[in-house]
């Protein structure tokens, strides 16, 4: 990065955090610290919801996915607007009227304390595992790209996030989220324009799309239904709806955003704003990745995008990597030549030559990745997350590099701060105040919330510091986290429904839903998008079968 990029990066981060803390002044009650006094406007909530969901890995990984796999990932988001409409119509009025701090507090009002406690513990386990990863995963990529030692990146991000989250509470988190989302929007636009402007003068935007299209990257909608195909229209609409319902309707890190709304109208519009913006936004991010693919048709990309692994491979003495590298260069030249013929003539023979050369390049890249995995004792290696940042650092003009890097930091910090904030809220409201220290002063609980936020921040930083030694456990943590959502959604479906289900039924249903998803994940090939549907249906079915009786409310 050049001097001006550092200036843009540092000024952006300082300004965002400074403004967030400025807006958070006066948060001196537990309600203002955890729920912003329920005074937030829809646009701040809406941007905060979006920023919380957009982690740094989502930001850089999605563009990488567009490069490798094309546009089909956009179908994953088709369920989101449907879920937002359902949550707005059903959940928002119930949460608003019940005056709760956490989604799980509502479960006690509706069922009983053990259902609330189980759901909140599930959240603490799931999000507690996730927050460490939310810090570790981007830190690894940023360390490699910026050339910083991993502990420095982790400590820098950890200290910044924990400081403003502890001091300012949810107001600081949400105001910084809103600014961070604006920086992310700017970063996406900058990268998109840079990819288009980087094309050779004789290659138009439509030529670039055509080149990506003949390698199968322009398939945004797949109408074929397949249980094992992760991304098609049906898995997106059905599985995606259940996933989005679970995440936005039951996960405290999201529910807490809209619980801060000053009215039902503000809460609803914030969710519907996401419903309208998210799908086209994801399309643009993926399309940026596909354009980066077209850019690298004419500019030779490195065989491996991770510079550290690339340097390690280049130092190999057995010549294996060098052999792969020379075949790679020949294949890239053939693809580039074929691409020029395609854009000049659109002849079928040129298109075939382009596709063949592109397939050959893919095979060679896999061989190089295999060499990395072999030298790392078989550990899975993912080069996709480094594609976008390589493009940004190498080919964007001075100033814009700093802006996009600020967007990546912003994406990381907005997710982590929301998770710390929600973890602290659940810890204090659902456990500390509920079981340990009842009827204390408002100041007491606000202090407890600050200490709890700091605790989760230190935990996340320590977890991330040891991330490098966890190896394949990281993947296990990711998988475990995805198992809980379905049953969590199921218990909220029971809670929001007019059916008369008692606490025993809801609790048993949740246990059965968790077991069903664990069995599905262990013994079937069903892709993860369907876990939420399975867990939800099992929870509701068992809840209805065992819990037909008087509710806590009735």
């Amino acid at each position: 990065m050049r001097g001006v990029d550092w200036v843009v990066l540092i000024v952006s981060l300082v300004a965002i955090i400074g403004y967030g803390l400025y807006r958070a002044r006066g948060s001196n009650t537990v309600e203002s610290y955890l729920l912003a006094g329920r005074t937030m406007h829809w646009w701040v909530i809406g941007l905060s919801i979006m920023a919380t969901q957009a982690s740094a890995i989502t930001f850089i990984g999605t563009t990488g996915q567009g490069y490798v796999d094309g546009l089909r990932f956009v179908q994953f988001y088709f369920g989101l607007p449907i879920a937002m409409v359902i949550i707005s119509a059903v959940a928002v009025p119930l949460f608003f009227r019940s005056n709760v701090y956490t989604a799980y507090e509502y479960l006690e009002k509706r069922f009983d304390s053990k259902t609330r406690t189980l759901a909140s513990l599930v959240f603490l386990v799931q999000r507690g595992l996730g927050v460490g990863l939310a810090l570790y995963a981007p830190a690894v990529v940023l360390s490699v790209i910026m050339g910083w030692p991993e502990p420095v990146t982790i400590a820098t991000m950890g200290i910044l996030v924990v400081t403003y989250t502890v001091i300012g509470g949810i107001k600081a988190v949400m105001w910084t989220d809103a600014q961070q989302m604006m920086v992310m929007f700017s970063g996406i636009v900058a990268a998109f324009l840079a990819a288009v402007w980087g094309l050779p003068s004789d290659t138009s935007f439509l030529d670039a799309i055509h080149l990506a299209g003949i390698t199968g990257k322009m398939q945004a909608v797949d109408l074929n239904f397949d249980w094992e195909n992760r991304y098609n229209l049906w898995s997106g609409l059905i599985g995606g709806t259940f996933l989005a319902l679970s995440y936005f309707g039951t996960d405290q890190s999201q529910v807490q955003r809209y619980l801060t709304g000053k009215s039902i109208r503000h809460m609803r519009i914030s969710l519907l704003f996401n419903a309208v913006v998210k799908v086209p936004l994801q399309f643009v991010i993926l399309l940026t990745g596909a354009l980066v693919f077209a850019f690298f048709v004419y500019v030779e990309p490195p065989l491996l995008f991770n510079p550290i692994e690339r340097a390690k491979m280049e130092e190999r003495q057995d010549g294996a990597y060098q052999a792969v590298q020379s075949r790679y260069q020949a294949a890239w030249s053939a693809r580039s030549e074929a691409a020029r013929r395609v854009t000049a003539s659109r002849e079928a023979s040129a298109e075939n030559a382009f596709v063949v050369a592109n397939t050959e390049l893919g095979v060679i890249r896999q061989e190089a990745i295999g060499l990395v995995e072999e030298s790392n004792n078989g550990e899975t290696y993912n080069d996709t997350n480094y594609i976008f940042l390589n493009f940004v650092i190498g080919y964007l003009p001075a100033g814009l590099v700093g802006l996009v890097m600020a967007a990546v930091f912003a994406a990381a910090m907005s997710t982590i701060s929301a998770e710390l904030n929600s973890l602290a809220t659940v810890t204090v409201i659902d456990h500390y105040r509920r079981y340990l220290f009842r009827n204390r002063t408002d100041k007491h609980y606000q202090r407890a919330a600050k200490i709890s936020t700091a605790f989760w921040g230190v935990y996340a930083t320590v977890f991330a510091s040891f991330g490098g030694q966890l190896g394949s456990l990281i993947e296990a943590v990711n998988v475990v986290g995805s198992l809980f959502y379905g049953s969590m959604l199921g218990v909220f479906v029971l809670a929001f429904s007019p059916w008369r289900v008692n606490g025993f039924g809801a609790f048993s249903g949740m246990i059965a839903g968790l077991a069903a998803v664990a069995w599905t994940a262990s013994y079937t090939e069903v892709t993860f998008l369907w876990y939420n549907l399975i867990g939800c249906v099992m929870t509701v079915a068992v809840g209805l079968a065992l819990g037909r009786g008087a509710t806590a409310e009735s």
Partner: protein, 48 residues
């Protein structure tokens, strides 16, 4: 803390008159994008 009996939940949406119409518009917007993406796929996706 806001009142449980607050009347704000009856507030109409800022546009289109009723929440039902707003929800229908959001879903129509999703359908629009799916159709656009489908047409985009038909036009540009030429699987190898």
């Amino acid at each position: 803390m806001r009142s449980v009996d607050s009347g704000t939940e009856e507030e109409p949406p800022p546009f289109l008159g009723t929440w039902g119409r707003v929800y229908a518009t959001v879903l129509a917007h999703l359908a629009f994008w799916i159709v656009v993406f489908y047409l985009f796929t038909v036009r540009f996706d030429l699987p190898s």
